[in-house]
Symmetry: C3
Subunit: 362 residues, 3 copies
C-alpha cells in the first residue's frame, strides 16, 4: 500500500482500508509478533489542543510496536506561544521524528503540515473537519463486532449537524454495498444536506426519525454521540427532549439481539451506565480496537517511509482566499492557496470547503 | 504471591510484605538482571492531582524494568474536564495499559477504580486516606538501614493528626514484634485516637512527648513530617513552637550513632540542610529505596496478571451513604454502596470510614 | 575524554570539542549502530521554565540512543511549588536518573545543581548566562556546512547585547585560528564590551556595521537572531529600523554562493519564509545537527559515568554575596559563596559575574 500521509480516510481505496483492517486484526490476534516492529523509531505528537484520550491511544499504539514518542499537548508551553508558525514547528519536529501526529483546532491544519513535514503526517483531528483515525477505529470495530461492513442498517443518534465522526462514518460506509442509515436527532441537529446528497449519490437508503425508541428495533448498529446542552434551541427544549436521545436498558429491550452500540467517547449521560453491562454495548471494546487500528496505520506508514521521496504532488494555486473562516489558511498566511477545480467551483485543498472560481479562470 | 491490586498495604500478610522487600533488595543488588522484565508492558499513570515526585518514581521504576508509561497529570487537559466519570476513564485506559496507577484527591478512589479496571490497579495516594507505596518505601528503607523491622523504638514527629504516611507506617510496624512508638507533636496535631487504639490492640508501647530534643536519645528511628503553618492554633503559636520540631545538628548530637532519620519529602524547613551530610540522614537514600520498592511491586503484579481473571470478590451493598464527605462515592454517584459489616457498624469498602448499619439489617 | 558535567562549553579544550563533533558525525552517518548504546539508562529533564524545542531535542537524542526520559516542564505542578529547594529536587531526581538535564531561569543554576547531583548534569540554559548545547549545535552545523571551524568571516545580526547564543558562539570561535566577526545591529543592541575584549585578546579581527545588506557580500556565515520589538528605543525606531535586519531573497542575492545562514530558532519574522528554499539557509538542518550533537554529548557523559567518583573539585568560599541579582545564589540561600580569585577580583563560580574581593582577603 502506497500510504505516506493519513490526512483523510477518503483518499484511501476500499481495498486499502480493508488491508488496514486486516493488519489491525493480525496485530490483535498476535500482538507479541509486532512488539519490536518500530524499535528505534520516534513518533511526534503535536497536539495544538488537548485530547488526552486520542493522544494516549496513539502513544500506546507506538509503544506496543516498540517505538518512542515525543511531543507537546499544551501550546502555551511551547515555541508556538512565542509566535512560531505551524510551518517552522512542523519542519523542525519532523526532522527529529520519523512520524508526525498532529491535532489542531483549525480545519486543514494536517494537510498544511504535510506540505512542510520531512516525515509522514497523521491527522489526529483538525477542528470540525476530519478525524480519520476515529473513523478507522469505527470500521475495525464494526468489522469485528458485526462480521462485515456491508448490508448494515446503521442508526446515528444525537448531534448529526456538527458531529464530524458521524459525517466521516457515513462517507466511509456508503462505499460498501447495501448499507442504509437511520438519522435520529432533533430538527435543529439534523444531518447537513451535503452528507444526505452523498448518501443519495451512492444509492443508499436513509430516513430521518425523531425518536430513538422507535428507530431501535430495525437497527444492526447504533452510533451514539453527545448532544451538548447549548445546541438545543432553549433550556426548555433541552429539558423536554434530552430523554428522547438517551439510551437505557428499557429502550434497548426493543432492539435486536445482535445490535452493536458504538460511541466515540467521552460520553456524558446519553448512555445510561446500566447499559455498560449489556453485551451489545461495544463502546469500551471500540477503544481497544482503536489502539489496534492506530498500530496498523503507524506500521504501514513507517514501512512505506523508506521508499518515500518527500513532497506529494500538489494541486494548483489560485489567487483567492478560502471562504471558510476556520480554515488554516487564514491563521497561517504564508500557505499557498491550493484548490482542486470542478467547473466553476474550487475545493480548498486544506479544508474541503467550496469556493466559486474567480471569473478569470486560473 | 496472589497480588492483583495494591489498594491498601494492610490487605497483605506480613509474609507477602517481606517477599516484596526481598524482591526490592534483589533488584537493588542486581538491577541489570531485571531491565527487560517488563519489556512490552505499558503502565498508565492517572494523576487526578499533581505529584511529580511520586510520578517520577513510578515512571523510573517501570523504565528500569524495560516497560513504557502513558498517562496524564493535569485533569484540566483531559476528557475528565468534559465531565467523564472515573469509571469511563478507568475502563478505557485499562484497555490500553497492562497496569493502572491512580492518584486522586478523593478517598477510596483507587478502590473504586479497581471495580472497573480491566488491568491491575495501584493506589498512588487517594486523598488523606492511603498511600501504600510510600509505606512500602518506608519499610524497605528501615529494613535496609536498620537490618530489621522489629524491636525498634520509632519516633514520629510533626503533623501526626493528618499525616497519612504516619498512620500507615504505624499500622504496618505494629504487625512486627517489639516495636514501640514515641509521638512528638503539639497537642493540636496529636495522633488520632483510633491509631492509638490500634497500637494498644497490638500490645505496642507508645508515649506522647512535646519536645523532639527530649525524645531523641532513645530513638532507633525518627520519622519527620512537615507541619504546615496553618495547622498551628495561631501565628504566635507557630512562631513560638516551630523551632521545637526542627531537626538540626545540635539536637542530633544527643541521638544514637545508629539512629536513622526518614522523611517522606518534600521537606520545607523541618530538617536543617546541615543535617543532610550526617550519615544518620536516610531521607535521600529513602527515595532510591522507593524506586526499588515500586519496581518490586510492579513486577509482582504484572507477573500475576496472566492468571488474573478480573473482578475481585466484592463485599455486600447496603442502602446507605458513606458518612465521609470526602469519600469517592459522593462525587461518583453510580458507585455501589459497598460495606463490610461488623455488628452494628459498617465500614465503607472504599474509604474505610465507619457508618452505623441501618436498623433493618441488610 | 574526562567529561562529567556540561555546564559551560568553555571548560572543554578545543580537542575535546572536536572529539564531540567527530562523534556527532559518526552517529549521524550511522545512527543504527548507536541505537542501543544507552539501553537501560534514564535521563531526567528538569525544566524550571518551558522550552519545548530544547526538551524535544534532548528527548529525541536519548530515545535514539535507546534510553528513557523522565522529568517535568511545569514547576507549578511539582514539589517545587510546595517550596522545595533546588538542592532537594536535584538530589532526589539524580537518585532516580543516570543523567540530569536542567533548564532554569536563574544564572548559575546548572552549576549549583552539579554540587548536589548524584548523576552528571547538563546545562540546557540557565537564564541569560549559558546554553552550551546550543553552541555545540552551532559548531557541529558550521563544521559540516562549511567544512571547517577556522578562517571564517562570521556575521552576527540582531540582538547582540542580550543574545547569549551570540556571546557563546563568539567565545567558542575565537579559539579557532583566523576567524573574523562582523557585528550587525543597532547601537542600542551592540555587543557588550567584554565580548569585544575577548575577541581582541584572541587577536581576532572584528567590526561593527549598521546594515545587513552592506555586510552580506563578505560573509562566510550569517548568524541571525531575533530582535524583540521592545528592545528598540521607541516604536518609531522599530518601524524605521526593523527592515534593515530582516533577511530576504533580495538581500541574499548579494551574498556568496557558499554562505550559510544559521538561526537558533524560533524565528519570528527576521528571516522571510522565501529564504527557506535557498540552499544557503541552514537553520532547519541546524536543528537536526543539534540532535546529533546532544546524542554525542549524552553518550560521552554516560560512558564516563562509570569512572566518576561524584563531586568535582570546588573553588574557595568567600564571605560575600554575588553582585548579580539574577544569580542562583540569591534565590537558593544555602548555596556556598564560591569564587575564583584573580588579583582583587572575584568571579562567581555559578554565574561568572565579577565582584570586588573583600579588603581582608580570603
Amino acid at each position: 500500500m502506497n500510504l505516506h500521509h493519513m490526512i483523510d480516510l477518503d483518499r484511501l481505496s476500499v481495498e486499502e482500508i480493508m488491508e488496514l483492517i486486516g493488519l489491525a486484526n493480525s496485530i490483535r490476534s498476535n500482538p507479541w509478533a509486532y512488539r519490536e516492529s518500530c524499535r528505534g523509531k520516534i513518533m511526534a505528537t503535536l497536539f495544538y489542543e488537548p485530547s488526552t484520550r486520542t493522544k494516549m491511544s496513539f502513544q500506546t499504539a507506538m509503544f506496543r510496536l516498540g517505538g518512542e514518542v515525543v511531543g507537546f499537548d499544551n501550546p502555551g508551553n511551547t515555541s508556538v506561544s512565542k509566535g512560531e508558525s505551524l510551518k517552522d514547528t512542523v519542519t523542525v519536529v519532523s526532522g527529529y521524528a520519523d512520524l508526525v501526529v498532529i491535532r489542531h483546532p483549525k480545519e486543514g491544519a494536517a494537510a498544511a503540515a504535510s506540505l512542510y513535514s520531512r516525515s509522514p503526517v497523521i491527522n489526529a483531528g483538525d477542528g470540525g473537519h476530519l478525524h480519520p483515525t476515529q473513523t478507522l477505529t469505527d470500521l475495525v470495530t464494526l468489522y469485528n463486532e458485526k462480521g462485515r461492513l456491508d448490508h448494515l442498517c446503521i442508526g446515528l443518534c444525537g448531534d448529526l449537524i456538527y458531529g464530524r465522526t458521524v459525517h466521516s462514518l457515513i462517507r466511509a460506509m456508503i462505499r460498501f454495498p447495501g448499507n442504509s442509515f437511520v438519522l435520529i436527532s432533533t430538527p435543529e441537529l439534523a444531518l447537513p444536506q451535503y452528507v444526505k446528497d452523498a448518501m443519495d449519490a451512492a444509492g443508499c437508503r436513509w430516513k430521518e426519525v425523531a425518536s430513538l425508541e422507535e428507530a431501535l428495533p430495525e437497527l444492526d448498529v447504533l452510533y451514539m454521540t453527545r448532544i451538548q446542552q447549548e445546541r438545543f434551541s432553549s433550556p426548555e427544549q433541552y429539558r423536554r427532549q434530552k430523554g428522547v436521545y438517551i439510551l437505557d436498558e428499557k429502550k434497548l429491550a426493543r432492539a435486536k439481539a445482535d445490535l452493536r452500540v458504538l460511541h466515540p467517547l467521552p460520553r456524558v449521560d446519553e448512555i445510561a451506565t446500566e447499559v455498560d453491562e449489556d453485551p451489545r454495548a461495544a463502546y469500551f471494546r471500540q477503544t481497544v480496537y482503536g489502539m489496534y487500528a492506530r498500530m496498523a496505520l503507524i506500521l504501514t506508514i513507517l514501512q512505506n517511509r523508506e521508499t518515500w521521496a518527500g513532497q506529494e504532488p500538489e494541486p494548483a494555486v489560485y489567487p483567492c482566499r478560502c471562504s471558510n473562516p476556520a480554515c488554516i489558511t487564514h491563521s497561517e498566511p504564508y500557505l499557498p492557496h491550493r484548490y482542486t477545480r470542478s467547473g466553476d467551483e474550487l475545493t480548498c485543498w486544506y479544508c474541503d470547503e467550496h469556493t466559486p472560481a474567480p471569473a478569470s479562470g486560473r
